[in-house]
Assembly symmetry: D3
Homo-oligomer: 131 residues x 6
Amino acid sequence: MNRPRPVEYADASGEVRAVFDDIKAERQIDDVNNFWKYLAGDAALLKRTWETQKAVLAPGALDRRVKEMIYLAVSATNGCSYGIACHTALARKAGMTDAMFGELMGVIGMANQTNRLADGFRLPIDEIFNE
Amino acid sequence: MNRPRPVEYADASGEVRAVFDDIKAERQIDDVNNFWKYLAGDAALLKRTWETQKAVLAPGALDRRVKEMIYLAVSATNGCSYGIACHTALARKAGMTDAMFGELMGVIGMANQTNRLADGFRLPIDEIFNE
Amino acid sequence: MNRPRPVEYADASGEVRAVFDDIKAERQIDDVNNFWKYLAGDAALLKRTWETQKAVLAPGALDRRVKEMIYLAVSATNGCSYGIACHTALARKAGMTDAMFGELMGVIGMANQTNRLADGFRLPIDEIFNE
Amino acid sequence: MNRPRPVEYADASGEVRAVFDDIKAERQIDDVNNFWKYLAGDAALLKRTWETQKAVLAPGALDRRVKEMIYLAVSATNGCSYGIACHTALARKAGMTDAMFGELMGVIGMANQTNRLADGFRLPIDEIFNE
Amino acid sequence: MNRPRPVEYADASGEVRAVFDDIKAERQIDDVNNFWKYLAGDAALLKRTWETQKAVLAPGALDRRVKEMIYLAVSATNGCSYGIACHTALARKAGMTDAMFGELMGVIGMANQTNRLADGFRLPIDEIFNE
Amino acid sequence: MNRPRPVEYADASGEVRAVFDDIKAERQIDDVNNFWKYLAGDAALLKRTWETQKAVLAPGALDRRVKEMIYLAVSATNGCSYGIACHTALARKAGMTDAMFGELMGVIGMANQTNRLADGFRLPIDEIFNE
């Protein structure tokens, strides 16, 4: 078996089902998405990853919509097609409008451009940024 | 000359000075940071980059603070030390608190983790994300 | 012709066939995988790349299984879908179990997370690491 | 304050001290390295990150030395200078010899080369890798 | 709507049509490629991106063919499948031969290899490179 | 010893000296740069890497200046400070002018921007690029 396989709820251990149940309750969905089904091949990895994601995305000083847009910015920068697809959907669900999406893409594109210019020009960091 | 050199205001052409003046007025600062001084070696590149950055970071559907945090998320994901230093400072100036910074780092770390898990597990994209 | 095309054995030059034969003998397979068929468009590139890969993956201080897992870790970090698919298969062939794969993914995910936190927090390197 | 600051043990809250104590006990060191001192600015992030790292790096199907070399492979691929410095030291501590380090670098270099060739040549994934 | 949608000419606003017309005239093509149709969801982003691309790719001290090969080198390094596909076609159109493509891939692969070796070995920059 | 150490000519084995001599003759320099001194810790890695680099950078369908600019484009995209410093110097030596450097940076910045936009917008590849 070369390619990892998903674990469906019906075939899952009790430990995996408990995580799946928590994801479904938290996100108010009927079935978990592929990310969780594949990670379920390693129950400890599944549990740790979900606990961290739940904590990280909970509203706090930043609201859920901003957090999902940051998640999308990282995913686009990494060129991760799954992360882009998943967190575009989650950001939409959290209220990201077409106008917000356009501006988000504008910032992502600009930051990727200037990051590489900064590296290419071998910029020394200004003293004021080290204070 | 192997290493690019910065262009200081006193030595700049009129075209470069006009851009420097606009940056200083827009950001209410006394001198431009190194990024602009180095790009000034190519006046057309300097002008284009500044015009785009000004447009991209202007408040719109997203406010300046959110935009700067997205900029920082991209810079950290790219491991660009200059971009991280610069946009941490700009995000602070736009009101990013310690708590926001901690949550931002939490999301950046998590997204980088799950992006690589998604790739490593060769996840097919769920149909619902393609709607 | 926009898209590169594979070179099949039947159409290959003697120089390319010699490399294909060596790959098939070394890996005990009936046909080479797409990576080699596409590189064969440039016979010098094909030969150099194969010679290096053969040397690098030969058992030495590290065994083949560990080397394939390292290869997979790099491929997942780069988000290279071909490298992930190929070296998951090669690592499996070299004895990677489900448990090893799960732990490998756990380390890859964690390292990608902490790398970006280290950059984002602008960490100075501890003196002890420079000894 | 533009640049994040480390939290020293003497200034740390009880929650942060408990994590620092656990790191010192687990790794048998007198003081934690900068990574943990900086993360301590967000106690929840510190605690989550340490708990995950402890679980991920614990010996299991893969031993600690292999795990540290994988960590180093990811860090080098990301160009993260802190991660490279830290996990070179930890891999050395776990028994990585000069010969292992040389072979590790050989695999990392090769994988980064072939990943980009695979992308550049637009390789279709062989059917056998999808089984 | 989770997935972004393209804007076709027939449905486009006057502002978007003007950009599409300019792209078609400049590149002497009958229809714009998907990149522009998707960006058209944000007319300001479309216009800015096209204006910059037109300026950047115009022949100057470097000719169009060299510029397209550099674009392809960046796209392969980023693992961006769209950028690779698009700029392979544009480089071909600008005269890139099979031999040039092979040598280009050779340099891209080598640079990606040595970049990660340089990082992994923690190389100090030679004084001569700072002059 | 946590940090890798350079191997100086005086302390090098015959195998390493032979490679150093070839580099010095080929590049017409009095001493090799740090990259080679550090790789010399693994003589086989040193020899393989140099042989490949010599072959890859030799003038062919592309001249040396173009190859060095492509090398620099990859290095800037990877944010590899050593690669950027070294190949800026080598490109200068091969005739890269200030104007070429400015245009090169313009293309690198633009490509990094549009790569991430292409990924973020989830672009399907146009049929024409697959021909």
